[in-house]
Point group: C2
């Protein structure tokens, strides 16, 4: 029997640890930018453990090796860690230590913690630093030990960079840079260090392809009130891009030069840097004589509030996505073709690809039939790929990138006759979705204030869903974007963001019956102004997604008259917007799908 | 023309300021315990300005004198400050400096700020301390200059202290003290200093009469893990109370001795003290060598979560209050007597006084007819007392103290025929009230999560109310009690409290049409456990207040079927609980008031 390759890698890593005098080596899942998704080059934790899930942390000592991951991945990790000698730590389960607690238990006078400070977030790394100091241990964050032993490491993709023209971005880069400088002046900051890839791409109106599903460019940015330097691999910067940036007053330097450049900042320099969003080595490159202003990146709120051009475009992107998704629904509901989860997802991709300016998926779609629908983060593989039968629910959560913006939609489709309970649950999820979508509220409300409006119809039935109600959506960037979100609980220390006109947030309640089915209904909501009167400025939402809900699953008698009015008005908009782009037969089908529902007999 | 007495007092105060070398003297409205209400003895700000409102701060320099108060009191303060030479600063209006900004503008090298450190909250005082330090000024917080010139100052009332027996409190004092000690151990605190009068009264199961409407005893308390010392005026402690306390391990010392006792704490002592809830001199009496643990008083959450005995009693208190209020409504709706705002309030008091164990009002009632109802903090005086006519709305917000607990209720009564708009607004406020009262929610939700459920029916009409949706209620203590509350906005830096079974919170949405009328409907809600299942522990509310809503003001066709079911079920409970205690004629009237409402024709 051949030796498990993971054991070979661990042995090689331990040799390096010995060489550098490191007792505890930590391998996180991140790149140098605290990105949610990372390219293959940065999957060091996957390389050293064999576990391919998106979230997890490995900790290796001379005697032990452990992997920490969350509930989504317990089964997968168990399988992939077999015979590796790596122990699985199930995060959140009783009596399972956190990474920090484990590291602390291994520490002691003279011990040394190590990690690659470029791929460890500053906030988390500062906790390890503190733990080491408290026990008379040391910390070495300069060495990428996994990189040293990783012989066939994938390159960073040399994806093409392109300029997002003003007809799409709505605001030239120099304007955006000037606005960030105003924000710096308000904080009396001399320098601003930006590592978040989406923020940099938004600021410079550039897009690339360095991360799957997120069209950004691996880079850093450092601004003063007069200069702006973009740190990027020179090999991917064409003359055209160089000229473009030069016109906007942006200078270019090598990707790795940022660390040495920061070290030369003069004493007393006030540096605006968001600790949650930079890596440890960046933070540590700032001389101790500088003053760190730890605030959110000013670009975070600027890019969340979409401008008029972006809003016009986003409506267009949703029209296209809604046409593609509706055609996909038509095939599902009327086609006799034998689709599986994977082939259905492919067919949706094909429908989307017919649309102009489409740049592909905004995330790996979830196409989950029956019991798979109850697994919130299910992703079909060749092994799990289930045939879609003429019964139960199919849950499809998918989205696309267009030059006109990014989309994220979920529909749950009745594939045959449903039980009364299934219809009740679908109707409750629909009511939850509509209650939030048609909310009116005073300026000052946050996504935390409104969350209960969505959950209340489910709570009345003693049901809840264990995920957020909605997240912000980027513009041809990450489909998950802050600071706006609908959430039940405010994370400790977080200042919730007020909802503002121009913010786009998803509205995606669900019900999940383990082993049976899952229902989620997701629309994107654009925050818009309502009336302004003596009570203040009212706000409301415009629903961007225009795809029919499934009337085969709706019990009108369980909805109140206002909710039915909302549903009928929504379906009318769907028909009017999407109908004209469909072939006659599909249009007639859509007309029937969106016809008025009448009040049930119980009222 | 006689000289205004305020001018004489200001001149005397300025002489004292000269004597002590003070340039800026600040007089707040508080007692030594940061109490919401204070007894006459502590109304130094009223004495020195002539302004009798409950909230305000006076600042006196050698040349100027100013009074800061909020919007509730602008008109009253304008009148009362006339010819006093004191300038009114309207807090919250544009270009009006805050007290702190004004004080800072008057400061400079060598200047001296003064105030009586016993009646200034520690958090606020620390800001003045910082302002003084920043400008090279000094601060003198030892002298009560107003007290020196206040010749006819009222005494502190020598109200009787009584023990709240275990059949009312549900838990002996030594048990409560032991629980606080556990909380101290969790924080590794050696000493706990408690100045909040309600917390002390709750802890010792004692009640008194040192503050109008709040049956507490002016006192401090200092605990260690072994000792417990109550600092109180010895003159009011009877032998019975002394024996009672001794049995519970509580020692007694003089009210003012706390300051010198704290000064003797050994270096390194860890002192648990809630800075928001102690006066400046107390905080400053702690030697700098001690370690301050600035956390909420452990008693705050303990007293907010009512025990089973308290809950049983509170239901009883609400039954009594509901009987009294219903009899009052009967008189209003059927009596031909010519009542005014003041005489109506007196009649309600008389109805309450008929109930056993009633200990008077829990706050000064608001009995506001017609346009007065739109003034949220209206309080009728002999000058404003309006006759109640056979038209428009009468708003009555009142509550009582009983041995069985404290109540707070608002009803708005149609005194004659109403306009369609008035009925629409009443119906919307009623829907708002019911939506919150019948909410079901997951444990983990706070009063901020649920607030929008209440406001949404009003927001849908473009209407809002500019006050909190609800506050916690004490048990024979302050009618306003934290930490639970229903609020739209979380104050900066505050950690919202999770709703827990046993918490009692008011539910009091309103609509206020200036110059016309006000509508507020207030019930108290007890948080109770709902089902527990795979999603977690659900919570819901039991409505404690059982007083009919006014069907003459309700439009059933504007309510959905679920809301009507809730209303009918509530009215049935009202009739079943209150009816048996009414004379036959009143019971028949109540039966008609609480009869089922049918769905309107529009559905």
């Amino acid at each position: 029997m051949r030796e498990n390759p993971i054991c070979v890698r661990l042995a090689a890593l331990r040799e390096k640890m010995l060489e550098y005098g490191i007792d505890i080596y930590i391998v996180p899942s991140s790149d140098c930018h605290e990105s949610e998704y990372v390219s293959a080059h940065f999957r060091a934790r996957e390389y050293i453990t064999g576990f391919t899930g998106s979230a997890g942390t490995a900790v290796i000592t001379m005697e032990e090796a452990g992997l920490w991951t969350d509930g989504r991945y317990f089964l997968q990790a168990e399988g992939q860690l077999k015979r590796s000698g790596i122990r699985l730590y199930r995060m959140g389960e009783p009596d399972v230590p956190t990474v920090r607690e484990y590291v602390e238990s291994q520490l002691g006078q003279g011990k040394c913690i190590g990690f690659d400070g470029r791929v460890m977030g500053a906030s988390k790394a500062l906790e390890f630093e503190q733990a080491a100091r408290a026990q008379g241990a040391s910390l070495l964050a300069l060495e990428d030990l996994v990189g040293m032993i990783w012989t066939d490491r994938p390159d960073i993709p040399d994806a093409e960079i392109f300029v997002l023209e003003e007809c799409y971005s709505g605001e030239p880069a120099d304007n955006k840079i000037a606005r960030v400088r105003c924000a710096m002046e308000e904080q009396r900051a001399d320098v601003h260090v930006l590592a978040s890839l989406c923020d940099i791409s938004w600021l410079l109106n550039l897009r690339g392809g360095d991360i799957p599903c997120v069209p950004v460019v691996l880079s850093f940015l450092v601004m003063t009130l007069r200069t702006c330097v973009w740190y990027v691999r020179p090999s991917i910067v064409t003359d055209e891009i160089r000229n473009y940036l030069s016109k906007h007053g942006v200078e270019i330097r090598g990707y790795d030069e940022i660390y040495s450049d920061l070290k030369t900042l003069p004493a007393g320099t006030r540096v605006l840097v968001d600790r949650k969003n930079v890596n440890y080595r960046l933070l540590k490159s700032l001389p101790v004589s500088t003053v760190v202003i730890d605030q959110s990146n000013p670009t975070e709120i600027m890019k969340a509030v979409k401008n008029e051009t972006e809003i016009k475009n986003i409506r267009e992107a949703h029209r296209k996505e809604s046409i593609a998704f509706t055609r996909f629904l038509y095939r599902l509901k009327t086609g006799k073709a034998n689709l599986t989860e994977l082939s259905a997802a492919e067919y949706l991709d094909a429908c989307r690809a017919e649309q102009e300016h489409c740049l592909g998926q905004s995330f790996t779609p979830i196409c989950a039939y029956g019991a798979h629908g109850a697994i919130v983060h299910y992703s079909a593989t060749a092994e799990t790929d289930a045939p879609i039968l003429q019964e139960n629910f199919l849950l499809v959560d998918a989205g696309g990138h267009y030059l006109e913006g990014t989309t994220d939609t979920t529909r749950t489709i009745a594939m045959g006759s449903l039980s009364l309970k299934q219809k009740r649950m679908y109707t409750a999820v629909l009511r939850a979705n509509l209650r939030l979508a048609y909310a009116k509220f005073l300026k000052g409300a946050t996504g935390y204030s409104l969350d209960a409006l969505c959950r209340e119809p489910l709570w009345q039935l003693g049901v809840d869903f264990k995920h957020g109600t909605g997240h912000g959506v980027g513009y041809l960037l990450n489909v998950h974007e802050g600071p706006n979100a609908f959430r039940l609980r405010i994370p400790k220390g977080e200042e919730p963001a007020e909802l503002q006109p121009g913010m786009v947030t998803t509205d995606e309640p669900g019900v999940y019956i383990a082993g049976d089915y899952g229902i989620r209904l997701e629309n994107e909501l654009l925050c818009v102004e309502g009336p302004s009167n003596e009570y203040g400025q009212f706000l409301e939402f415009e629903i961007l997604t225009l795809i029919p809900f499934d009337r085969a699953a709706i019990l009108p008698e369980e909805m109140d008259s206002e909710e039915l009015r909302w549903l009928n008005a929504y379906h009318q908009r769907v028909y009017e917007t999407v109908g004209p782009y469909l072939p006659e037969e599909e249009r007639e089908w859509l007309k029937a799908c969106t016809a008025r529902l009448q009040l049930g007999k119980s009222e």
